[in-house]
């Protein structure tokens, strides 16, 4: 179309001779469809509830069902503060992400924004490391699921030890991948019901627990100093528990399928962070008023079950165990899907071989990408190191979040013609600046092992780009 275009990404090739699938004019986006250059329509079929359910369903697992024990052990009752900090950071990132997503409502999410605003190298690093980040997150959720499944068995009187956690995680990982491979048509709707049921159980539990903490039922609660270890652990713990907010950006990865993207994307992203943040803080307050934080730490990853048992005896414990199973499974499932979408986004731009995003016509599913994600997930589950898994996933997501904030500033400073978001962040420099500083800042609070693994992954991905796709530039292209 435009002979004087500086960027002709469509002509650049990677090592295999493949070029990015770029367009010469903006995709026509309506509330109901996107239209490709050839005039083919891509139907948008996910509404606001569906978007919220993706965000909430991905996030809600860990903060309630895995972290309360670990977090209270590190920060005491101030773990509630850690979760609040996490929510604020997530919001500071969710706002810029919303703007970028309404300007570019396509699948790809963070990778797409960063590669277009900052260039192919940062894009490739983000795209590939977010894929690995999701692999780590999936493994983490699966181990969490194993823990809950083991607890359910124990509750049912089956004598199992801690040794079944990893095998259960592995089995569920294989089953989830298989389920997604054969394309269960109503998986997404099922996910909506699972999330709905979960929220119902949680609201009951937290409502009852909250009244109990206020002394309504006349039981003595455990008075404890809010900051038993000083303020610093509150921040380091925020870095650990930030994993439980990884999910709102997943909404952006399905942006191409969301109805009325200009309205629903920001609402789904911000709404799910606010809702989930509120539930997390309430959970910690309830948990730390039921038990001393030292006791919670001893309970470990299933601390919330003991809290439920203290509040509602056997039935309480069973209800929360069921909720935990549903939650970790829905988070794991959502992450399995996101890994395949993340791989599609980079392979579309020829950063990895295009074969990686091949689709299976019979089942309609991206079988190569699903299989490529499943392998490393199972290896990580077998290692079973929950805290490291969580932190590496957080590390890689935080890098992407920080860069998305930078991408927003870059886009706004030098707005390309096609940049026309429906939602604009107010005081964008301040919001995006704080978002970037907070995201990068949290990296400093992580364990050295996690930082080292995270950095190593980024270096390797940058190396891959230099080796495989060095000629490809993506800055400013569509």
């Amino acid at each position: 179309m435009n002979a004087t275009r500086e960027v002709t990404a469509g002509e650049q090739t990677n090592r295999a001779g493949e070029s990015p699938e770029v367009e010469t004019q903006p995709t026509e986006v309506t509330d109901e469809t996107s239209v490709t250059e050839e005039g083919t329509e891509l139907e948008r079929s996910i509404g606001l509830v569906g978007g919220l359910s993706i965000g909430v369903g991905t996030m809600i697992g860990a903060g309630i069902f895995v972290f309360p024990g670990l977090a209270a052990g590190q920060a005491g009752p101030a773990a509630a503060g850690s979760f609040a900090i996490g929510a604020v950071v997530a919001l500071l990132v969710a706002l810029p992400t919303s703007e970028l997503a309404t300007a570019m409502p396509k699948s790809g999410g963070g990778y797409y924004f960063v590669s277009r605003a900052l260039g192919a190298l940062p894009g490739a690093v983000v795209g590939l490391s977010i894929w690995l980040g999701l692999v780590f997150a999936t493994a983490f959720y699966l181990v969490g699921f194993g823990n809950y499944a083991a607890a359910v068995l124990a509750e049912a009187g089956v004598p199992v030890g801690g040794g079944v956690v990893v095998p259960l995680g592995l089995v569920s990982g294989v089953l989830l991948t298989a389920l997604n491979l054969v394309g269960t048509e109503n998986a997404a709707k099922l996910q909506n019901y699972v999330v709905g049921l979960l929220l119902t159980i949680l609201v009951f539990f937290l409502g009852y627990g909250g009244l109990d903490a206020l002394g309504v039922f006349g039981r003595a609660t455990t008075p404890e100093e809010f900051l038993p270890f000083g303020p610093l652990p509150m921040f380091t713990t925020a870095a650990l528990v930030f994993t439980s907010y990884l999910g709102f950006a997943q909404v952006a990865t399905v942006a191409g399928d969301i109805k009325q993207p200009g309205r629903n994307l920001p609402l789904a992203m911000v709404g799910s962070v606010v809702l989930v943040g509120f539930l997390y803080v309430a959970t910690i307050l309830v948990a730390t008023s039921a038990f001393a934080s030292g006791t919670l730490a001893e309970f470990g990853e299933t601390a919330i079950v003991e809290v439920a048992r203290a509040l509602g005896d056997g039935p309480g414990a069973i209800a929360i165990l069921v909720a935990g199973l549903l939650a970790t499974l829905s988070s794991a499932n959502a992450s399995v899907l996101s890994t395949s979408r993340a791989l599609f986004a980079v392979s579309k731009d020829a950063i990895v071989p295009k074969r990686a995003s091949r689709m299976n016509l019979r089942y309609g599913t991206p079988h190569v990408a699903l299989a490529l994600g499943a392998g490393p997930v199972l290896v990580l589950v077998a290692l079973g190191r929950v805290e490291v898994l969580a932190e590496v996933a957080s590390f890689l997501h935080l890098v992407m979040y920080g860069l998305m904030c930078v991408a927003l500033v870059a886009m706004r400073r030098d707005e390309p013609e096609w940049y026309d978001p429906d939602f604009r962040v107010p005081a964008y420099r301040l919001v995006a600046g704080l978002g970037a500083v907070a995201s990068f800042g949290l990296l400093a609070f992580m364990q050295t092992t996690s930082q080292a693994i995270g950095l190593a992954i980024m270096v390797v991905t940058a190396g891959w780009y230099r080796y495989y796709a060095n000629d490809i530039t993506l800055k400013g292209v569509l």
């Binding site: 083919t40 139907e43 998986a187 579309k348 309609g364």
Partner: protein, 250 residues
């Protein structure tokens, strides 16, 4: 607007436009006799492919867009040879019903075809078991059958509800005659029916095409699908579903 053989007929109030949704990547085809039958009306081909929600539509279009467009072009050629220019749409979707409904509204389709295999078309069943837009129905049937020798059976299915099947059949018959279909080609009958969908399905082997209205959206249709879809599933003949006109014109 293409000049079909019947577009100039003054007795036709609103030229019928038939939307034909085709599962384009699954090798679904239109029987040649059906194409011949539909040529007198305006036609929109909707080639669609349904994906599970975990697959982005963009990903599918990247790989299969050309194949889908080629397959739609093949159908267009068949109509072209029969002397009918058609409009086309190609859609990748997660939700077939949403897509059909949206496209039908956008193109102003007066009827939607639910394809089934069929042979030479000479006997058409018009099944009335609830309120339907008689003008659109008559326009469609008169346009499709007008030039040929095919026969119509207007069949009212009287249930327990307030729907007056006898009156509806008489009205439909009169309107078809008004639109130029000779009265001796129309048969009219009414029977009581407890289970209209099952009764219609049971009679489809006597006919080559079924024409019916959308039916009401009740709890049952949410669980089991529209009446028309259930008929199409059980029937041995294709089903033409007459759409209600948009609310502001009603």
């Amino acid at each position: 607007m293409a000049d079909g053989p019947w577009d100039g007929d003054l007795s036709i109030r609103e030229p019928p436009k038939v939307l034909i949704p085709v599962r384009i990547l699954e090798g679904q085809t239109l029987p040649a006799s059906l194409v011949t039958f539909l040529v007198p009306s305006e036609v929109v081909i909707l080639g669609y492919h349904v994906l599970p929600e975990q697959t982005p539509t963009e990903q599918a279009s990247m790989q299969y867009e050309e194949r889908a467009r080629d397959a739609v072009d093949d159908i267009v050629d068949v109509f072209h040879e029969a002397g009918r220019e058609v409009e086309t749409r190609v859609v990748f979707t997660h939700d077939r019903d949403q897509t059909v409904e949206r496209v039908a509204t956008e193109v102003g389709a007066t009827a939607v075809l639910l394809p089934n295999p069929t042979g030479e078309i000479s006997d058409v069943l018009v099944a009335l078991r609830g309120v339907v837009d008689t003008d659109r129905l008559a326009d469609l049937v008169a346009t499709l059958l007008g030039a040929g020798t095919g026969r119509v059976t207007v069949w009212g299915l009287a249930g327990d509800g307030p729907f007056d099947a006898e009156a509806a059949v008489a009205d439909a018959r009169a309107t078809m005659v008004e639109r130029g279909l000779s009265a001796d080609r129309i048969e009219a009958e009414t029977t009581p029916s407890e289970r209209p969908v099952a009764d219609i399905v049971a009679r489809t082997n006597e006919f080559d095409v079924v024409v019916m209205g959308e039916g009401e959206q009740g709890l049952l249709s949410v669980l089991l699908g529209d009446d028309a879809e259930r008929v199409a599933e059980g029937a041995v003949a294709p089903v033409l579903v007459v759409r209600e006109p948009p609310a502001e014109q009603a």
